[in-house]
Amino acid sequence: MPSAPDRRRRTLGIALGVAFGVAMFMGPGPGNALITPDPGSAPATFLGVPALYAWALGWFLVQALLIAALAAFVWKDGPDGDKGEGS
């Protein structure tokens, strides 16, 4: 039976994994249709930057935050632990 912290970690891992999947779907995937202009109309901009480029940067930030959260709260060093770092 997994301990309570392990169950919480697993739940958090699943939640972050789902969020990462959503980020993949929204960033490079069909989610970007939300900012695709109608045919014939000018592409949108966001703070002076093409909206699609800003979209890519934004979803990268989401992915980076999710990876940082996974590393901090979900991923373990493993049973053998760290034997010291560096090269």
Partner: protein, 494 residues
């Protein structure tokens, strides 16, 4: 081919005079450093194939992360990626979002692969895959052939890129392409043969740093060439609508296709034989965790803020032309054909860095061109090293001489490196300037086949290996029996 005509304007004569000697110095220092690291790797080695192929399974996170990054990014990062943005526009910038997914795989798959490798003494991917299928010889053979099919195209394409870079560095030299390809191949072969994985990883660390520095510098140069961030994006906003939206100017990148490529390319890249062996070589799961973090947070900005801006800036500075049937062609400044898009980064840097910074800019441009060479070598060395492990352990020892000693295997591995390098060089030289020589295109397709096949094997085998080797975690009450298998996508009990 990369343009070999003089690129510097007459007003930049001083810069042009600086570029050639700076390129020679940068290249000389770089190549000497590689050879020195090869020798150092040899001195530090303790003998044995585990040391030669996996650096004694003792790589810390700094070297692990840099060698994983350098193996992931080939010359594609500095030549093809900006070329594709130049050709299609912002749509291809979304491709950078495959990198964070690769980072997740470094830990999620890498940790389990490493854990099984340590527990069972695996050295090659085939060791683990065959074991995962109950010791199946067919799977072993298939995965070995698949690994070779993945590695060979990479080696060929990187050596070819080395020849092209040599043409840029030494435009006046006779047979610069041929000499460049041969010298790159020979030095790469030498330091792998001498120092094994330790040398490959150390040189990858240097090459990876150069590559990332070069990518960021190129992006900054592109923005500076257009007057800074504000003017840069003003001009980008004025580009044709199809260059700023999905599916891109050539219509090649609809969203579902981009998503598929991001997922499959990442998965295929992160389980290629060279990366797989890096997971075995990591000192600890913690080293892979930190590698994944570095990979996911440092590399994407190199793409998004580095080379992608080169492609967009290039569209403004060198507007693409239109050929027969509406096909997009590169600007005349790049060569004017549909094969010239990949030159955008080099042409832009050589044109504008000297203009911005004078001789110092020419020297920096030379360093970035050497970084492209580093990108080629870092992928070629990893693939050749993996190829030698597959040839010696999976094929020679398994099917020709089961009783082969460690020394004999090491020499067979070195022989495979020499043979693989020589064959790749021969293909590249034969294909140079010969549009009708198709084997290179065919073996490039082999790489895609290998990605598809190995992706399927890895997931299934990872599941089997771990359920067979480790005590499964306790299933939660009421869960199905299938829950208890410890798969690649489910944490194993520690």
């Amino acid at each position: 081919m990369i343009p070999t005509a003089p690129i510097f304007a007459a007003a930049d004569a001083a810069a042009a005079e600086t570029f050639a000697p700076a390129a020679k110095v940068a290249l000389g220092v770089y190549l000497l450093l590689l050879l020195a690291l090869g020798a150092l790797g040899y001195k530090r080695s303790s003998g044995g194939d585990e040391d030669y192929y996996l650096a004694g399974r003792g790589q810390g996170w700094i070297v692990s992360s840099l060698t994983i990054m350098a193996t992931f990014f080939s010359s594609f990062a500095l030549l093809s990626a900006p070329g594709l943005v130049y050709k299609t526009g912002v749509a291809f910038a979304l491709f950078a979002l495959n990198v964070p997914f690769g980072a997740v795989l470094v830990y999620v798959l890498g940790k389990r692969i490493r854990q099984a490798g340590v527990a069972r003494g695996y050295v090659t991917p085939s060791d683990m895959l065959a074991d995962g299928y109950g010791g199946s010889e067919s799977v072993r053979l298939l995965s070995a052939l698949c690994g070779m099919a993945y590695s060979i195209p990479y080696v060929v394409m990187q050596i070819q890129a080395g020849g092209l870079v040599s043409e840029i560095l030494f435009p006046e030299a006779e047979n610069a392409f041929q000499w460049g390809a041969v010298v790159l191949a020979a030095i790469t072969m030498l330091y792998i043969m001498v120092g094994g994985m330790r040398s490959v990883a150390w040189t990858d660390a240097i090459q990876g740093s150069m590559l990332m520095g070069g990518m960021m510098l190129a992006g900054v140069a592109a923005v500076a060439a257009l007057g800074g961030i504000g003017p840069f994006f003003e001009k980008v906003d004025a580009l044709p609508a199809e260059a700023l939206t999905v599916p891109g100017a050539d219509g090649a990148w609809p969203a579902w296709k981009m998503l598929t490529i991001c997922v499959v390319a990442s998965l295929g890249s992160m389980i290629q034989p060279a990366q797989w062996m890096r997971y075995y070589a990591a000192r600890s799961a913690g080293a892979l965790k930190r590698s994944a973090l570095a990979f996911g947070i440092i590399l994407p900005p190199c793409f998004l803020i580095g080379v992608m801006l080169v492609g967009l800036g290039g569209r403004i500075l060198y507007p693409p032309g239109v050929g027969e049937g509406g096909a997009i062609l590169a600007s005349e400044a790049l060569g004017g054909t549909a094969k010239d898009f990949d030159k955008i980064l080099v042409v832009l840097l050589k044109d504008y860095l000297p203009e911005l910074l004078g001789p110092a800019g020419a020297a920096l441009a030379a360093c970035v061109v050497v970084a492209i060479l580093a990108a080629s070598m870092s992928t070629a060395d990893s693939s050749l090293h993996a190829l030698s492990a597959i040839a010696s352990r999976d094929l020679y020892q398994r099917y020709l001489r089961k009783a082969a000693s460690a020394l004999e295997l090491a020499w067979v591995g070195r022989g495979a490196i020499a043979f693989g390098t020589a064959a790749a060089v021969a293909l590249v030289l034969k294909g140079y300037g010969n549009d009708h020589f198709t084997p290179i295109a065919v073996i490039a397709q082999m790489g895609f086949l290998a990605i598809g096949f190995s992706t399927q094997l890895a997931l299934r085998s990872s599941t089997n290996s771990f359920s067979a080797r480790e005590p499964p975690p306790e299933p939660p009450p009421g869960s199905s029996p299938a829950w208890s298998s410890c798969s690649a996508f489910r944490r194993c009990s520690a």
